[in-house]
């Protein structure tokens, strides 16, 4: 069992915690929000790294975070940093050149698709973008489907353009075409709030014209919110007979009756994936920059059989064991 220290900054009280237990283990400081997905990822990281590493956690939400972190880095003297989500990155960026040596430390970043931009200005960075890649989503759907499918529709905003272009290239390898409708590319990234549903409906008509067989819902609060759920998303499958692939399990629940297939990150395995980058750097001597930012690999999945039946999507029953959770009424 690795020595894992839950650490919440409390003045100088932490000094007592840092006095002796670290031994020769490699010291990592994980700067992270206290939210469940990050804690699961941290648990996966800690579990995979084992006794050879000591991981201290620093909560980004602690009072006077910058000053506190300064003290922790000086005292704990980490050999690497694990930065989870944007606040952690901003915090560390702000400390560069501030009296503690940050630049030379290997950094392992876990965050969503804006990670590439967020890490600009940081040196020695590897990490994982934990937006689920389209490749993973649709190859998983193909595994459990009896019918092959070739055309996937997606609504997106300008901010997601790079992700969509990358997704198109990867899906092309699997002979799938991603048909994207950017809702704000012609308006400099702005969509008046009252017009989103109208734009979604107009673009849906375009997907129908282009014979998109599946609709991919991105995890984007602007396009998926209370209003658009009610006025658009919840009606899509019924109105157009097209299955929706969703980014959260509750959107594919029997109660919600929206998504046919749900895919979201396996956060514990995300931590294991990050642990392997840590191992490559500290035990195989690879440079973090050479590893770069990887896409997330492991996911959790759910299939809603009632919805599949409604949209007449034939599933391969022998392959359903490969889905994390299979839902059906009764």
């Amino acid at each position: 069992m690795n020595r894992f220290l839950k650490f919440f900054w409390a003045g100088t009280a932490f000094l007592a915690c840092l006095s002796s237990p670290f031994g020769a283990a490699i010291r990592l400081l994980a700067i992270t929000p206290n939210a469940a997905p990050f804690q699961q990822a941290l648990a996966g990281l800690e579990s995979d790294l084992g006794d050879h590493y000591t991981i201290m956690r620093f909560d980004v939400a602690c009072p006077n975070a910058a000053d506190s972190l300064h003290g922790v880095i000086r005292t704990f003297a980490p050999q690497g940093l694990v930065l989870m989500d944007s606040k952690a990155i901003v915090l560390v960026k702000g400390m560069q050149g501030g009296g503690v040596e940050i630049a030379s430390l290997p950094k392992f970043v876990l965050m969503t698709l804006k990670a590439d931009g967020a890490v600009k200005g940081l040196e020695n960075v590897a990490g994982i973008k934990f937006e689920v890649p389209a490749y993973t989503i649709f190859t998983h759907l193909r595994i459990i489907s009896q019918q092959d499918f070739k055309k996937v529709g997606v609504f997106y905003r300008q901010n997601f353009s790079a992700f969509i272009e990358e997704s198109k290239k990867l899906l092309a390898k699997e002979k799938m075409e991603l048909v994207g409708e950017c809702l704000d590319c012609g308006t400099q990234g702005r969509i008046p709030s009252g017009t989103i549903t109208k734009k979604l409906k107009e673009s849906m008509a375009e997907f129908v014209n282009q014979k998109a067989e599946v609709l991919w819902m991105l995890a984007d609060n602007t396009l998926v919110n209370e209003a658009t759920l009610k006025e658009f998303w919840l009606t899509v499958s019924k109105q157009y007979g097209v299955p929706v692939v969703v980014p959260l399990p509750n959107l594919a629940s029997l109660e919600m009756n929206l998504g046919m297939f749900g895919v979201w990150p396996d956060y514990q395995q995300l931590g294991v994936q990050a642990a392997q980058q840590v191992i490559q750097v500290f035990e195989s001597g690879e440079s973090p920059s050479a590893l770069g930012m990887e896409p997330l690999i492991s996911v959790q999945t759910v299939v809603n059989l009632d919805m599949a039946q409604k949209v007449k999507w034939a599933l391969n029953k022998e392959k359903l064991y490969r889905v994390s959770s299979v839902l059906r009424k009764n």
Binding site: M1, S47, D48, G50, P133, Y135, T136, T139, H140, R142, I143, L170, K173, E174, K175, D266, Q269, V272, Q276, I279, Q280, S284, E294, P295, I297, S298, Y321, R322, S324, S325
Partner: protein
């Protein structure tokens, strides 16, 4: 304690074997690391897991060995979508593998199976993840069970090919105990299970 990484979900295995094992409580794990961490709290608990894993468990004896048809051992393949890769290149490449032994033991297993070491093994916990690794070019090659190759080919449009194959390996699930006498009842129940139940463990019978 049951752990069959890359196979049926722990929930599915639990649903089949909970009734079989009763009144003995069971726990199912997806990752070998989770089983590793749970075992010290349940010393001597009967285990169903890969033979390659169980042989590292001190004090355990194998009471039942799983088989598929008449097959008692499995071969593994190193596959890739890049036809330029030859067998001699593999040692220096990034290779994905389903982790059924844990971080410390997988490299030794791979060396034993193929006769050479692979320094950059990328471990995953689900078979599907190997396809993602190959498709997104996060690895150059992947190690899979020979019996999974045709399934994998039908699941993807990537043109996969076999670089090399392993010698036959003892990796089918086994049932193992520390105190044999205490496991007699459970051994009997397991050996009476129909093929459909045993298939959730990736086997068709015991010997």
């Amino acid at each position: 304690m049951i752990c069959i990484p890359g196979g049926q979900t722990p929930t599915r295995i639990d649903s089949v074997f909970r009734r079989v094992a009763a009144p003995v409580p069971i726990r199912c794990f997806q990752r070998i690391k989770d089983l590793d961490e749970a075992l010290p709290a349940h010393p001597g608990a009967p285990v169903i897991g890969s033979a390659a894993y169980v042989r590292y468990l001190q004090g355990y004896s194998v009471l039942l060995r799983g088989k598929r048809g008449q097959q008692k051992q499995k071969k593994y393949l190193i596959i890739s979508g890049n036809r330029a890769i030859a067998r001699r290149d593999v040692e220096g490449l990034k290779v994905g593998v389903l982790d059924f032994l844990g971080r410390d033991k997988m490299p030794a297993f791979v060396k034993d199976a193929f006769g050479f070491s692979i320094a950059k093994l990328k471990r995953v916990s689900k078979k599907e993840d190997l396809q993602s690794l190959l498709g997104m070019e996060l690895v150059d090659a992947a190690i899979i069970e020979e019996s999974d190759f045709s399934d994998m080919q039908s699941d993807t449009k990537l043109a996969l090919f076999v670089i090399t194959e392993s010698k036959p390996m003892d990796t089918f699930p086994v049932f193992a105990c520390v105190v044999k006498e205490a496991c007699v009842e459970l051994q009997k129940k397991l050996s009476l299970q129909p093929k459909s139940a045993l298939q959730t463990l990736g086997i068709e019978g015991w010997e």
